[in-house]
């Protein structure tokens, strides 16, 4: 149940290269379930490996439960085997010379657990992950997903107090993934271990995490609760990165893609924080409502505009509607079959509360920024 | 060097009981109190000798077969390290012993005083235990009783080009020493032999007749083998179209017996049928069992000691030793026709070793 603290961590793989992780400060409370999100190559794996002690930071300090594990300045280093963490490698890193069972029991054997207890523990975990029947196979005789589950089982069976997982479910099918998630959640609750979980699946992150860290190009963008990450992204990067289909943006400043649209929005936001007018406005696809132009479902307080339906994609249970207005494409996501045809005219609207405002640097403007001055003055 | 040589054979070796108080019984008595010894020779028969010695005196001796060059290496290295494990060597490179090991104090040679009467004087300084017999051989199955060559100069003749098989002289210093011995002591004989063969006196740019012989011999496409063990069968398998003359040690005759190949000595070869290489008893100066070592030297020099090796055609220096019936080579009767080493010129053998090697190397290219 330890807390993990990273202070000013930097990692350069080679002296000449740009740092893969830079100036990273991260505080993870004990018992946290932290999901790390970020584009490919942003330094997630590197960060995890540094926490595990497999990679050595070029600057900064890592503490776990107040104990310094790494400190470049003070010259402290605790080797991975002494850190007592669990790690699921992105590449599995199974031992090719051991059977599934032996792979899973390896950690237990290291702890000098006797054969029987070992067997019982490993059987339990393997059973739960659905790999018990492959126990005597070698990793090279397993399918990708099976291998990944062995990697997971191997880590879980020793019940480490800090669990680091690098995309541990990427090769599993949706159903299994759901089960695994439930299992991880349960383990986390029961053992109260601290978990850091790298995933590319935002839905996974949203449902699993108590906190989410979003990284980009080696730096931390936002560390927040899932709700805040989604609903109050601290900058455009986070706003754009989280959510699928991604948030729609309309540039208000000069150089925006669609002058007409910007104008109408500026008009709508008249009186709001002037910084918005140099920045941009974001709208989540699912907060875009669509109706036939004749419909009167549109509430008064919302921003509304006309558009043409240029695409409808069913995605199994929901539909993505592509709208084109004033030369810009916007995506809306609807849960019920849209009663609209391709090529139709439509109106769409967004609640004023659902608009995300960003300044010209891409930083989020406080929610009050959307409120017109005159009203505030009242 | 000759001073050291004298000291070496005087008995004042400083090892064990002094010669002044020497008697065989005393030596045996003293030896019995000492640790077991290891004795070394270049032939496997040393095992038998060591066993017989142990039986006779109740003193444990282990026999070890080590090749000549390894023996020297071991003797030197053990002495340098002051960690002597091998006590007695029966060495075949006399010049190395007299010119290097004895003067350097690495080893001593001791002549048992009570055997001085049984051993010719030339074999006492240093103590030479036996003579190894090397002879020219041919295939009697092809040529019958008469060797096709009877003069060493014939071997330099075009007729025998590429038809002579000998152990590589560059691996066997005794050959080089022999060349020098002849050059130093019997060069005139060589010259005479030339005249006898070619019918005219020798004209040569080389300093000696022997050097001329070596030069011609080496350039006559002599086939060298790693050892005379390989030479024997080649001679034995030679045919009338492809005759081969070989140079082997007498021990090869017992090989011939076991492996059933024909081989006979060129008895008519002039000036010499072959070479008698002296083998000298050497006691490591650092031995922990000096008296036992001396006792073993005594045993080797005695009439019975060499017996196991005499079966292989080695000749004991002890006058009382009789060649056994089982000697396959019959060379015992030919010793008069062989070149006998002159110990006085051995220091020169040692010094000129490289000269002869180079002469051989350059001539045989």
């Amino acid at each position: 149940m330890p807390s993990i603290t990273l202070r000013g961590i930097e990692k350069r793989y080679s002296r000449s290269a740009a740092p893969s992780v830079r100036n990273l400060d991260l505080d993870i409370a004990d018992g946290e379930f932290l999901c790390v999100l970020g584009p490919s190559g942003c330094g997630k794996t590197t960060t995890l490996r540094m926490i595990a002690g497999l990679e050595h930071p070029t600057a900064g300090e890592i503490q776990v439960d107040g104990r310094t594990f790494d400190s470049v300045e003070k010259g402290v280093y605790v080797p991975p085997e002494k850190r007592g963490m669990g790690f699921v490698f992105q590449s599995y890193a199974l031992w090719p010379h051991l059977t599934v069972q032996d792979n899973v029991e390896f950690g237990l054997a290291l702890r000098n657990m006797d054969r029987k207890a070992r067997r019982a523990a490993s059987e339990g975990v393997m059973e739960k992950l659905g790999i018990a029947k492959y126990r005597d196979r070698y990793p090279s005789d397993l399918s990708g997903g099976q291998q990944q589950r062995v990697a997971l089982a191997r880590m879980l069976v020793v019940q480490p107090s800090v669990i680091l997982m690098d995309e541990p479910l990427s090769n599993l099918d949706a159903k299994l993934r759901l089960e695994m998630r439930a299992e991880l959640k349960r383990i986390h609750l029961e053992s109260k271990s601290t978990v850091i979980f790298v995933t590319h699946d935002q839905w996974e992150a949203m449902t699993l995490a108590s906190m989410i860290a979003v990284m980009s190009e080696g730096t931390l963008q936002q560390l927040d609760t899932p709700d805040n990450i989604y609903n109050r992204p601290c900058n455009r990067f986070v706003a754009e990165f989280v959510g699928s289909p991604p948030m729609n943006f309309i540039e208000l400043g000069s150089g925006g893609t669609s002058a007409a649209l910007s104008a109408s929005l500026r008009n709508h936001l008249d009186g709001a924080d002037p910084r918005v007018c140099r920045g941009s406005v974001g709208m989540r696809p699912e907060s875009l409502r669509i109706a036939a132009p004749s419909s009167d479902a549109m509430p008064a307080a919302a921003y509304a505009a006309h558009a043409t339906v240029t695409g409808i994609m069913p995605t199994g249970g929901s539909w993505i509607v592509e709208l084109t207005t004033a030369g810009q494409k916007l995506f809306a996501s609807v849960n019920a079959p849209p009663h609209i045809q391709l090529g139709d005219e439509a109106v769409f609207w967004v609640d004023r509360a659902d608009l995300h405002l960003f300044d010209e640097h891409g930083d989020r403007l406080p929610d009050e920024a959307a409120v017109p001055h005159q009203r505030k003055e009242k | 060097a000759s001073g050291a040589q004298a000291a070496a054979s005087n008995g004042s070796t400083g090892l064990g009981i002094a010669d002044a108080e020497y008697s065989l019984d005393k030596l045996i008595e003293a030896a019995k109190k000492e640790p077991p010894i290891t004795v070394v020779d270049a032939t496997g028969k040393i095992k038998v000798m060591a066993e017989k010695f142990s039986e006779k005196y109740g003193i444990k001796a282990t026999g070890e077969k080590i090749s000549a060059s390894n023996q020297e290496e071991i003797l030197v290295r053990e002495a340098q390290a002051r960690n002597v494990r091998r006590d007695v060597f029966n060495m075949s490179n006399l010049p190395n012993v007299t010119a290097q090991f004895l003067p350097q104090g690495i080893a001593v040679s001791w002549m048992p005083p009570d055997l001085k009467g049984e051993t010719p004087a030339e074999y006492q300084h240093p103590a030479i235990t036996s003579l190894n017999v090397w002879v020219w051989v041919y295939n009697p199955a092809v040529f019958g009783d008469k060797c096709p060559v009877d003069n060493m100069w014939a071997l330099t003749d075009q007729k025998w080009k590429g038809k002579i098989s000998i152990p590589d002289p560059l691996l066997r210093n005794e050959t080089m020493f022999w060349f020098n011995q002849i050059a130093d002591n019997s060069d005139a004989t060589m010259k005479k032999a030339y005249e006898a063969y070619f019918g005219k006196p020798l004209e040569s740019k080389e300093p000696t007749a022997m050097a001329e012989w070596v030069k011609r011999f080496a350039s006559n496409k002599v086939k060298v083998q790693k050892s005379d063990t390989d030479v024997g069968p080649i001679v034995g398998a030679s045919t009338a179209e492809h005759p081969v003359i070989g140079f082997v040690s007498a021990a090869i005759f017992s090989h011939a017996k076991h492996e059933n190949f024909p081989m006979a000595v060129c008895k008519e070869m002039t000036p010499w049928v072959g070479q008698l290489t002296p083998r000298v008893a050497v006691i490591a100066a650092g031995t922990k069992s000096p008296n036992a070592a001396k006792l073993f030297v005594h045993y080797m020099m005695s009439a019975e000691g060499m017996l196991p090796q005499m079966e292989d055609g080695k000749v004991s220096t002890n006058r009382n030793a009789k060649m056994p019936e089982s000697d396959a080579s019959g060379v015992g009767k030919l010793t008069e026709k062989m070149y006998v080493n002159n110990s006085d010129t051995t220091p020169d053998d040692f010094k000129k070793l490289q000269y002869w090697r180079d002469l051989w190397t350059v001539s045989s290219r």
């Binding site: 963490m85 | 590429g162 017996k257 190397t361």
Partner: protein, 593 residues
């Protein structure tokens, strides 16, 4: 920038400590003897002191002068040098091609009798190299040198000299003898090679030849280069075959020159020649080190989801099996048959029924004085066999284990210089002639050094020297294997809580058991065959099989001696089988099986 943190990390890694310890050990075991040997190159030898008028032991360039620029230098250095290089490169190339194909067939395809071939094709190394030379002679020998005529000659066809002696036969015999190096090193690397790397090239349309050239060979570079450098070194140092097939026709190689100098105790000359051989060897190691500089590029084990599938040969199955079979016949069956025949015939080459006998094997009451019974019922023989087995066995296991450690340090150590040093020095013993190495060992180990007592006279020195002598293969096997093993498996063990030692024992060594087994196997085999070290360093009275055989030759019992040699090969063979069975490391089986 060598910060405290870096230092801390470096020191946490036992590789540094292990590396330093290993470096010290091998400095003592290998470098010290060799330096003392090479030192003679600049010292006036006793025998020369009178001639050149300088005190023995004083500094001189006389030896260099003599070897490089005297009238004898063409004969002892330059010609042999040219010959050596052509023989070595030739043997290397043949062994590489033959061994490479065979290794691939055995470890990656479904040729018939894979398991069987996996062991059978290593046999050529178990036979002393002269037996192959002997087999060659018994077929191709002509009348130039004399002796028993070869098979061809007796059938009426006289083989030309170039086929009977000199460069071609030496090259081929050496190649056949050292092909097992390639089969073992390359085969082991191939065995754990992820077949998907091949697959992906084939999917892009690459035919087998391109897959081999562009994917397999570059990726297998560490093991291939190791095999190549080892073969090269062995060829540089091998005088046995060159002597039998070359000396009679004046085809000399450096090793024969060196052998002559050492045997004739021309210390200075020998040191210079050894120096030349070591120098050439050094160049080859440097080239090798350069070609595999970036170890991480050769990682083929431990990556994500590796597979090893055997390639179905389809219609090629039979021809390929025949190919392997042919190799077996040429390099194993023929020499063995020739050798065996020589042990059951009283007179060599006489094919009449009453000339055949089993006396040399199991005869009783024989007329031969020193060998009254056939070797199989002679207690001395079994005694010698047992001595060979345990002494060489221990040395081989030590060498194998140290080899893996060296490999580990070379590849993983943050201190690159230690790695480079180890890599180099463990390679040296192959370049130094056994007798010179033994003599040097004797000097060094006979004297106490600090805490190390004088080992001379104990079995320990023999084991140490044998081990040092066999380090080249062991360490090469270890290095090339480690180079192909990724960090992943080890890191996984590390986070599972395994310290360095546990990781080594439970992860690295089991994954690398194939190379490790090879690293024990070949030292074992060549240790069994080795003579010069044993003769110099063995405690008096302990006969090993080789010394026993030499003694039999000395008595003229060459048939019995050959029988001993056959038995020696048999021991090597069954030792190999035993090792393969117990460690399940037959080349034919895949990872974890």
């Amino acid at each position: 920038m060598f910060s405290k943190y870096r230092l801390k990390i470096a020191l946490r890694e036992p590789t540094v400590v292990v590396g330093i310890l290993a470096a010290l050990l091998f400095s003592y075991l290998i470098v010290a003897p060799i330096v003392s040997l090479l030192g003679d190159a600049f010292r006036v030898q006793f025998a020369d002191s009178m001639r050149i008028g300088q005190a023995a032991g004083s500094f001189t360039f006389y030896n260099l002068e003599r070897v490089f620029r005297s009238i004898v230098s063409p004969a002892i250095l330059w010609d042999p040098l040219v010959n050596t290089l052509s023989v070595s490169f030739g043997a290397m190339a043949i062994a590489l091609v033959a061994g490479g194909i065979l290794a691939w067939l055995i470890s990656r395809t479904n040729i018939m009798g894979r398991k069987w071939f996996a062991t059978a094709l290593i046999v050529p190394y178990m036979l002393p190299s002269w037996t192959i030379a002997l087999a060659w002679s018994s077929i191709f020998l002509n009348r130039t040198v004399g002796g028993q005529p070869g098979l061809l000659e007796s059938m009426g066809f006289e083989p030309p000299d170039w086929l009977a002696y000199g460069q071609l036969p030496i090259t081929i015999v050496l190649a056949l003898h050292y092909t097992p190096f390639v089969i073992l090193l390359f085969g082991n690397a191939l065995r754990s090679f992820d077949s998907q790397l091949e697959d992906s090239a084939r999917m892009l349309g690459a035919p087998t030849s391109v897959v081999a050239r562009r994917i397999i060979i570059p990726l297998m570079r560490p093991s291939l280069l190791s095999a190549v450098t080892l073969i090269f070194a062995k060829c540089l140092g091998d005088f046995g075959v060159a002597y039998i097939l070359g000396a009679p026709v004046k085809y000399d190689v450096l090793a024969t020159s060196l052998f002559r100098s050492v045997t004739a105790r021309q210390g200075g000359e020998a040191a210079v020649l050894a120096g030349v051989i070591i120098l050439i060897g050094t160049i080859s190691v440097l080239i090798d080190a350069r070609l595999v500089r970036e170890a991480r590029r050769f990682i083929t084990i431990g990556s994500k989801g590796s597979m090893n599938r055997t390639q179905q040969l389809g219609p090629w199955r039979l021809p390929m099996t025949a190919l392997a079979g042919a190799m077996f016949v040429v390099s194993v069956a023929l020499p063995l048959a020739v050798l065996f025949l020589s042990t059951v015939m009283r007179t060599p080459g006489k094919f009449v029924l009453d000339n055949f006998t089993l006396d040399y094997w199991i005869g009783q009451d024989l007329p031969t004085t020193a060998l009254r019974t056939g070797i199989l019922i002679t207690p001395d023989f079994w005694h010698a066999a047992w001595n060979s087995l345990w002494i060489v066995g221990i040395a081989a296991v030590c060498a194998g284990v140290l080899g893996v450690l060296v490999g580990y340090v070379v590849v993983r150590s943050p201190l690159k210089s230690i790695g480079a040093y180890l890599r180099y020095i463990t390679f040296l013993p192959y370049l130094v002639p056994g007798i010179a190495f033994a003599a040097a060992c004797l000097s060094i180990f006979a004297v106490p050094h600090g805490p190390i007592p004088a080992l001379y006279g104990t079995a320990a020195i023999l084991i140490l020297a044998l081990m040092a002598d066999q380090m080249p293969f062991a360490s090469r096997a270890g290095i090339s294997a480690m180079m192909q093993l990724g960090k992943d498996p080890e890191e996984a063990a590390q986070v599972a809580g395994a310290g360095w030692w546990k990781r080594l024992i439970k992860v690295v060594i089991p994954i690398q058991k194939g190379p490790l087994a090879a690293g024990i196997l070949l030292p074992f085999i060549s240790g069994l065959k080795g003579l010069s070290l044993v003769i110099m360093l063995a405690t008096p009275g302990t006969d090993l099989l080789t010394t026993y055989a030499i003694r039999l030759v000395d008595f003229g019992y060459s048939q019995a001696a050959n029988a001993v040699v056959l038995m020696l090969s048999a021991i090597a063979f069954f030792g190999t089988l035993f090792l393969q069975k117990t460690t399940k490391t037959s080349l034919a089986s895949g990872m974890g099986g």
